[in-house]
Amino acid sequence: MTLQECNILLVDDEPELLTLVGKLLKNEGYRHVHMVAGCAEAMWYTQENDYQLVLLDIMLPDGDGFTLFEQIKKLKGSGLPVIFLSARDEDYARLKGLGLGADDYITKPFLPEELLLRVKAVLKRTYHIDENMGTDRIGRAVIDWDAGTISVDGEDDTLTAKEFALLKKLCENRGRILSINVLCDTLWPDGSYGYENSLMVHIRHLREKLEDNPSKPAHLLTVRGLGYKLV
């Protein structure tokens, strides 16, 4: 299954917001997006269809999102990921949503890019879609995620496990600055802070494999004091 094949159900009582989010997801390539405005309709659609993700508002005209969440989980099991998309930003609501077992909690207003990234992250995490990621191009370099290689003008080079994880994180957030701490967390998720120098070493190795001139990088840029950015 590819990301685009995932069926997504949107539940929100604001028709305009439904249209906007539906459009965003469709523009991103998601082919099957259903939009409903209430709990009863959402339950009917969930029974009749097989969804890979539900985006759920909390305040609905015929009930609340938390109860609907529990009903959906009862019906479809815990395997179906749910993201809350709500205007309620208080800690109580967020903790309740995540405490019930939601995969993410996004507060309105949201940046479209952020919403799409979070949807993608949940789908990839749940269905292991990134196991078959295909290829990505960065300048002249082509990355084969399945083989774990990077090839420039037909010359293949292997990515180490850390380089692979680092490059994957940067590719997923292409165009955005990722802080040193976030990248360190990605490489050393046990919270081993103080690996900034090791991170710099991995970045240098990646540049040697990616860039035409590693000392003057054109793609993997350093943002001084902050982190790195892949363009």
Partner: protein, 408 residues
């Protein structure tokens, strides 16, 4: 405090009014002194042994001042001298009658009796002028009153003071709750429309290929919508902090990571290139933890950077530094966020520094006010000033170095 003062003033005012009314209705009663009047009586013994009594002018004036009368009775119960004695007052009394009027009234005239050498001296007042009764209590009861009354009095005072205070506080709390709910409601309701504004502005931005003007406007709409979101969130948070309505966490936060995350979020939100943000964290502070609410700390950093951006429309350099400074023989960890922009006026600086509590919401400077509130909640010292470049700067002095994890 104001309530206690008001109650005190009211008690004093009541006492003064009662004293005034007592004096006003006294009609010379307090001047009635049988001893004084008897002192004005002169006793004359004639050669034939006959005894005559006369009263001085001062004595008669005193008795006339309350329209009273006086008499002297011998041991046999006969009146031997009198002044202005009413007609319905007998001139001879039995022992039983004497006992009765010494305690209560004589033919409904209130009388005051003294035992003198020549017998019994009495001063009477007109009818219906004095309430006169004898009270008697058991010693045990009096002792009980003596011990209980001060306690009761104290309890009454406490109830009088605490009662209104609690009522006022409850009402104030209710009003604060209503205000917080209202702001939280507005903050909630504005989020969906803002989502639509940001969403469609973003769509416009990406669909207007080649049309720089449309892209620029779309970007502006998106930026302003994000700004409104920040303003409303600031208002909501500030209100919760002011009235103690928020639920804040006390967690260990790795400050350098939080600072970088916050700045990355700002820069990734298509920050205009005319703003340059640089970050400098001392190597020794890379593992600097502080205890507090991460969301509030993020807001503090974000507000200071947003402040630099919104006050320097021509662009500026923003420097964020986490460093150690010598303060009064101690090294303190300081977060400094400064810019090389236009700075702020002295009046504005003064406003930033003063933490005034007002029912009116400030028209400007909510972001800075929130910075001060967040710092205060965490017991950090905050200082605002214009730096050597002429730009605005803020320093946050941290009070706690929680822990510095070593690299494992």
């Amino acid at each position: 405090m104001l309530t206690i003062m008001m109650i005190g003033i009211m008690l004093v005012a009541d006492i003064l009014i009662l004293t005034y009314l007592s004096i006003k209705t006294d009609d010379g009663f307090s001047d009635l002194s049988p001893e004084y009047i008897f002192g004005q009586i002169q006793k004359t013994v004639r050669e034939n042994g006959e005894v005559q009594y006369s009263i001085s002018r001062q004595g008669t004036e005193r008795i006339d001042s309350f329209d009273g009368f006086a008499f002297l009775m011998d041991d046999a119960g006969d009146i031997i001298w009198s002044y202005q004695l009413p007609e319905d007052v007998p001139v001879h009394y039995t022992v039983k009658e004497i006992v009765q009027f010494t305690r209560f009234y004589l033919n409904d005239y209130p009388v005051y009796v003294r035992i003198v050498d020549d017998g019994i001296f009495a001063v009477g007042m007109p009818r219906n002028t004095v309430w006169k009764y004898q009270l008697s209590f058991q010693i045990r009861t009096v002792n009980m009153f003596a011990t209980t009354l001060p306690v009761l009095f104290l309890i009454n005072i406490i109830v009088l003071l605490v009662g209104p205070f609690l009522i006022i506080r409850r009402d104030a709390r209710r009003r604060e709750m209503q205000r917080t709910s209202w702001i939280a409601g507005v903050s909630h309701d504005i989020r969906t429309p803002l989502s639509l504004v940001i969403g469609y502005a973003d769509e416009l931005l990406h669909s207007a290929h080649g049309c720089a003007e449309v892209q620029e406007r779309a970007q502006m709409i998106e930026n302003q919508a994000v700004r409104i979101k920040t303003l409303v969130t600031n208002l909501n948070t500030s209100n919760k902090l002011t009235y103690g309505m928020g639920v804040w966490h006390r967690e260990q936060v790795l400050l350098p990571a939080l600072i970088r995350e916050t700045i990355c979020d700002i820069v990734n939100r298509n920050l205009d290139e005319k703003y340059d943000i640089s970050v400098a964290v001392s190597d020794s502070l890379e593992r600097f933890y502080v205890k507090g609410d991460a969301e509030l700390m993020k807001r503090l950093v974000e507000n200071l950077i947003n402040n630099a951006i919104s006050h320097n429309l021509a662009g500026c350099e923003i420097r964020v530094s986490l460093m150690q400074l010598e303060c009064c023989f101690f090294k303190r960890t300081v977060l400094e966020i400064s810019d090389n922009g236009c700075g702020v006026s002295r009046e504005q600086l003064k406003k930033f520094r003063t933490s005034t509590k007002s029912d009116k919401l400030p028209e400007h400077g909510l972001g800075i006010r929130l910075v001060r509130q967040i710092a205060s909640l965490h017991h950090w010292k905050v200082r605002f000033f214009n730096n050597a470049d002429g730009g605005f700067a803020c320093r946050v002095y941290f009070s706690h170095v929680l822990m510095q994890k070593s690299q494992s």
